[in-house]
């Protein structure tokens, strides 16, 4: 009980409104102070991390039903994180918290993870920004991973309050320069300690060979070639140094419009069709420019419309599809459902849960993205068409849609390494502006659009609907989404590969002149112990069957899916007229003259889509083949693990998917050991026990929020119940009850 004060149990009337009043008397705090400092947790600094400001005697509130408990400690702001150092011994002594992030502690908020800061002045909550005239008595921090922190500053010295509050506001909310990112100081500091990043299986796509290998893997090398025309970013700063274009495309075409208007290869399907993307040509008023653009596009068209290339269908993602604006509004509404200051708020929204959820339209956007991806899959798979995605910079929705298509069609992208390579290829090398979209530099709130998060949520829907098809788990996705805000990994902190290279190449003040080596997020051992990494891997994932007896099921279903597809040649045979029309569309779209009725919105195509979708779903699923999600209203779900994990009310003890999971793991272990035995045959040696994940193997009932719930487990609670029993009086009864509580504690 050291350093802890019970809050809220006192004032009977106030119990109902646990908002911002503290019931701790200062004396109480001071008596505890000494012990606090003795037991205090020391601040762990990363290499290169500097302490900026701190404040002592800060209370962190822990929400426990209607009453709040305060933990006394120190609030610290460094150039990497805001940290609360309290003596929450429960969390420390608890050896069950095996799923611990090595970089970010339970009470750490990286500066980039801060979403909003609120101050409470006289029980009124106000958003904090810029220079403050008055300092709040309570600080509420909403994080981008949906945690909510409450810090009470009432017992903190005034100058400390000033320092810490303005420090936090300045370092989290004020615009920053790229060079000031913690990333660089960290990299510079680690440099000396020989950061040899172990080569993982993730393909980084930063060399020509990587692209060539990807072409080989998808058997696209016949029609497409990797080019190094942009080496050193001579042509264009948005494009990666190496990329893939149709073989006959002359290289000078790439430089003509700085990479605009050039079809860039994303992926080749098993039937030879390819997914291409193209950034639209700049809109011009000048007629002569338009004319050159048109003839340029015609040239391009001639290249990609000749055999051996299939018919190209153009998919303009900047019209007739969700806009970035939509995504932004939807997510900001949606996240409010989960950023809950206290349980009162939670219960208020609980009644209207479904309509609130719907009005955010986040789920609807997910549905539309999945639907678009299925439409494209249908073109590629059933109609044997190439699909060309067009977007202004080909770096937002293009990334989203093309990676979704690949996840659905390419089983390789459902392995961990494949998925990571996919993100590397489509998002990191594809020039998705992580820096702007995540607003890491706080330069423009308008640019902040959670496109990548939307992608992860779409993938989660797939994972949730077809868990055995994926090598990774939903926990992996959750952890990946959290890693967006950890500025020691370079992966999500640049707008383009060019930006990354120019910024780490010559580290000016450094005398060494050696390029910095930055960590990638794919090195999971930086964040998690091997034991915890087990939770990122799906134990049920079966690798592509190699005619193994143990996996009879898989082989039986194999290829069934592909054969059963309506592989009849596309309905519209390539007549010249059709092609002409198609070309016109291409031009019109690319030149920015939108026609209201696009070909993909026509009824006929809707029908073939429906047919394709229905026929796929009426067949048994081959987890190593094409995978389509259900997109009907009831099927799109809330990613509960990510969004609800910090809400204690949403916890089910001994229930949830974790319960099934532990049973599964148990059986997996058994299967493994049996398999081993069989493999050994008759001469049985002392086989090492199968290293199965044992995180779940404890007798206690796990919470449904596992592995995240343990991180914020409350440790104590006032023994006397607060209401309901007040009126009874009877002394003997009270005594008896206390006995019972003691009993309970012993169990």
């Amino acid at each position: 009980m050291l350093g802890k004060a019970v809050v809220g149990a006192g004032g009977g009337t106030k119990v109902l409104k646990p908002s911002f009043v503290s019931y701790v008397r200062p004396e109480e705090i001071h008596t505890n102070e000494k012990e606090v400092t003795e037991k205090e947790v020391t601040l762990h600094l990363l290499p290169g991390e500097e302490l900026l400001c701190e404040a002592s005697t800060v209370l962190k509130y822990v929400q426990e039903d209607s009453c709040q408990r305060g933990i006394c400690g120190r609030l610290v702001c460094t150039d990497f994180k805001i940290a609360f150092l309290g003596s929450d011994e429960s969390a420390l002594e608890n050896d069950e918290t095996q799923f611990k992030n090595k970089v970010i502690g339970e009470n750490d908020i990286t500066l980039h993870c801060v979403d909003q800061i609120y101050g409470v002045f006289d029980e009124k909550k106000k958003t904090l920004f810029g220079q403050l005239k008055k300092y709040p008595e309570k600080l509420i921090i909403h994080c981008k991973d949906l945690r909510v922190f409450h810090f009470c500053l009432r017992y903190t010295k005034e100058e400390e309050v000033k320092r810490i509050v303005s420090g936090i506001i300045h370092h989290t909310l004020a615009p920053k320069r790229l060079k000031r990112l913690f990333l660089f100081s960290y990299a510079a500091a680690v440099q000396s300690s020989a950061a040899t990043s172990p080569k993982s299986h993730t393909v980084m796509f930063d060399t020509l060979e990587d692209w060539c290998r990807e072409l080989e893997r998808t058997r696209g090398s016949v029609k497409y070639k990797a080019v190094s025309v942009n080496e050193g970013y001579r042509v264009c700063e948005r494009l990666p140094a190496y990329f893939v274009v149709p073989t006959p495309l002359p290289e000078e075409n790439v430089s003509r419009f700085q990479g605009h208007g050039v079809p860039i290869w994303c992926w080749s399907c098993h039937n030879g069709c390819a997914l291409l993307k193209m950034s639209a040509l700049p809109k011009e008023q000048d007629d002569s420019v338009l004319q050159t653009q048109k003839s340029f596009l015609e040239g391009i068209y001639r290249i990609i419309h000749r055999p051996p290339y299939e018919i190209v269908k153009t998919e303009d993602l900047s019209s007739n599809f969700v806009s970035l604006q939509d995504i932004q509004t939807a997510y900001s509404k949606f996240k409010q459902l989960f950023l809950i200051d206290n349980s009162t708020e939670f219960w208020d929204t609980d009644i209207k849960w479904f309509s609130l959820l719907e009005s955010s339209s986040w789920l609807d956007i997910i549905r539309r993205c999945l639907k678009k991806a299925i439409e494209i899959v249908e073109c590629l798979e059933a109609q044997n068409m190439n699909v060309l995605l067009v977007e202004e910079n080909a770096s937002d929705l293009c990334c989203l849609v093309s990676s979704l298509v690949q996840v659905m069609m390419d089983p390789h992208c459902r392995t961990s390494a494949g998925f990571q390579s996919l993100i590397q290829k489509e998002w990191v090398m594809g020039g998705h502006c992580f820096l702007d979209r995540c607003n890491h530099l706080r330069q423009s709130d308008k640019e902040e659009v959670p496109v990548f998060l939307l992608f992860l949520d779409c993938v989660w829907q797939l994972v949730h609907q077809h868990p055995p098809a994926f090598e990774f788990t939903e926990t992996y996705l959750t952890v990946l989404s959290d890693s967006l805000y950890i500025p020691i990994f370079s992966t999500f902190f640049f707008n383009s590969p060019h930006q990354k290279e120019t910024n780490m190449g010559k580290e000016g003040p450094d005398a060494q002149g050696k390029p910095l080596s930055l960590l990638t997020v794919w090195d999971w051992s930086v964040q998690f112990e091997p034991k915890a990494q087990m939770l990122l891997r799906n134990p049920l994932y079966v690798e592509k069957p190699k005619l193994d007896k143990g996996q009879r099921k898989g082989t039986r279903f194999k290829h069934q899916r592909q054969l059963s597809l309506p592989l009849t040649q596309s309905k519209s045979s390539p007549k010249r007229g059709f092609l002409r029309e198609e070309t016109d569309h291409l031009f019109k779209n690319l030149l920015g003259k939108r026609i209201s009725k696009l070909i993909n919105s026509s009824d006929e195509l809707q029908d073939t889509f429906r047919e394709f979708y229905d026929s796929w779903h009426s067949k048994p699923t081959d987890y190593h083949g094409l995978l389509l999600p259900h997109i009907e209203g009831p099927e799109i779900r809330v990613w509960a693990q990510r969004y609800l994990r910090w809400i204690p009310e949403a916890q089910i003890l001994g229930g949830g998917t974790v319960a099934t999971m532990s049973k599964l793991l148990e059986m997996m272990e058994e299967v493994q050991s049996l398999q081993e035995k069989i493999n050994e045959g008759h001469h049985r040696q002392e086989a090492p026990q199968a290293e199965a994940p044992s995180l779940l193997r404890n007798s206690a009932r796990l919470s449904s929020l596992f592995p995240f719930a343990l991180l914020q487990r409350p440790s104590s609670k006032p023994v006397l119940p607060t209401s309901g029993w007040k009126a009874l009086g009877d002394e003997e009864d009270l005594a008896k009850r206390e006995d019972e509580f003691v009993d309970l504690g012993d169990v």
């Binding site: 426990e64 039903d65 209607s66 009453c67 939670f346 219960w347 929204t349 609980d350 009644i351 479904f354 309509s355 959820l357 719907e358 009005s359 609807d364 077809h466 055995p468 996996q551 009879r552 009426s618 699923t621 009907e632 209203g633 009831p634 099927e635 509960a640 204690p648 009310e649 949403a650 916890q651 089910i652 003890l653 001994g654 229930g655 998917t657 319960a659 099934t660 049973k663 599964l664 148990e666 059986m667 058994e670 035995k677 069989i678 045959g681 206690a700 009932r701 449904s704 719930a709 343990l710 409350p714 609670k717 209401s723 309901g724 009126a727 009877d730 009864d733 006995d739 509580f741 504690g745």
Partner: protein, 682 residues
Amino acid sequence: MWWGGRGQSFNIAPQKEEPEMGPSAPKSVQGSGMPEPGSRQLGSCLASGCLPGEQVLAWAPGVRKGLDPELPGTLICTNLRVTFQPRGWQRSQETPLSMSSLSRVQLHRPGSLLKFIPEEILIHGRDFRLLRVGFETGGLEPQAFQVTMAIVQARAQSSQTQQYAGITLSEAGRSAGSRTPPIPLLETSEDWETERKKQAASGWRVSLVNERFDVATSLSRYFWVPIRTLDSEVRRAFGHFHQGRGPRLSWHHPGGSDLLRCGGFYTASDPNKEDIRTVESMLQAGHSDVVLVDTMDELPSLADVQLAHLRLRALCLPDSPVAEDKWLSALEGTRWLDYVRSCLRKASDISVLVTSRVRSVVLQERGDRDFNGLLSSLVQLLSAPEARTLLGFQSLVQREWVAAGHPFLTRLGETGVSEKAPVFLLFLDCVWQLLQQFPAEFEFSEFFLLALHDSVRVPDTLTFLRDTPRERGKQNGQFNSCTQVYTPGYSQLPTGNSVDPQLSVWDWDLRYSNKQILQFRNPGYDPKYCPDSWLPRQQPSFMVPRPPSSVWLFSRGALTPLNQLCPWRDSPSLLAVPSRWLPRPAISSESLADQEWGLPSHWGACPLPSGLLLPGYLGPQIRLWRRCYLRGRPEAQMGLSAPTITGLQDELAHLQELLRKWTPRISPEDHSKKRDPNSQSR
């Protein structure tokens, strides 16, 4: 594929029935002018699948749609049901829809003006099923029209007067020979005594006072009363309750608490002091702590439930007009999930009351036939691991619903009375929510619930087709010797066919194939239950009659002290005085678990008594039972089940088989250990 969940529906002693079928089937077929060869084929087709007394009205060849591949076969309409028989199948494997469960028949006609050419027929079941049949040759054959008319007419008739021809069924039961019911049907006092012993309810006894149904017509013949209360006292005390449904034991918690249920106090009666004392002592059941639970408080009314169910059904229709992006608010608008939540919440609170300390908890509902059953069953599911087994759950339903006289017939709308309300279906939905939330705690699977859900309207057993045990017995001929002198060992008397236990819905093999029955088991069942790890402290003064030291009323999520148990002494009935209720605090974030234990319900590593489940009842946690309600939607029929655990178990079995073959000399204990998880699933 599991579509409707019902296959192999009526294969009751097939050989015997063939002669019975002979005269009836051809006659009706001739009457409707069917060509002879067809009827022969049909006759043989139906021979094994028809009930005695069932008549084939019309049939037509067709193609079952909505599946892939489409299934050719025959659509058959009899006086009892509509069924589709796939071609070449010996027995009807598919989804008969009983006449009364048809909610809507739709026809798709081709462009032609001829109205009597149906091209496709869509039959909507009340249990969310959909049968979609396209007729051969575009409906030009006369049979197509005939079968359509037959269905439409039969439906119209059945909605006017629905008298179930259940009489014929008991014959079928008899011909099946004496089979032991899979679970005790609680029709004999022995069953009750066995069950009492199983629960170790030592302070209770089986009362025979209602053997002639003269104390309460809607009650079962036997029930449990406190051991010290005499039968004469019981008789008098029960008279002061609505419809004579006085306080009876529902469940005895192994820790000592008792869960009771009773009807409302009969306010018009004027009991004397002695009766009041009896009533009080029965409610008190020997405990010093009594909690009266007002069952209906915070729960929907019967009309609400019915309305919500209708709305839900409309929403889940395949052609429901709700756009996909408006689906969630439409779902919320049905309020069905809200009602599920309130039931779970209340049940969770009550199970905390029962578990936290030794006391007597009395569920009181005016009629004592609807929500009392729902709550007491849910409470037992939450706090008694035995109730979560396959057999345990069936006997729970038998005891708390069937024997306790839940008016199935009235509530499920077979009699056309306005008191329709699918309370039982609401209960099944609640159970499904628990199953979702605690996938490792239940021995039965979702498929079992689905089978139960579909069984409520099937006219082959009387379990769900009568309102009370009395009527069930009457129909069955079991109590036809009512005038005889009763002895406790009644059923052991060799009185002809009344010895035969009636067939019940629990005889699953009547309607389901063995393969389907195997799916009733949850492969993920993983009980981590150790019975002695936590029990509330036994009070030393147990069963010593003395005035209760504390009496509470539980309503609005809080306990309020009461001065007295019975309403008659100086104030009118407590259920009649709503002013006594405290309004529930606006925020009830503090759950009852906290009040009772001083623990948050989300307490980390579980100091909750093992075996007790506290369900989640928040918006995001309550889900739609898609496999049940969305069955009519073609897109939702497929690909929903990902039987990963089953797959693993198959693999395990396979490996074990291999291992056994390869290494025959395996040490016995090792062997048994390896087989353990597999045997669990069997």
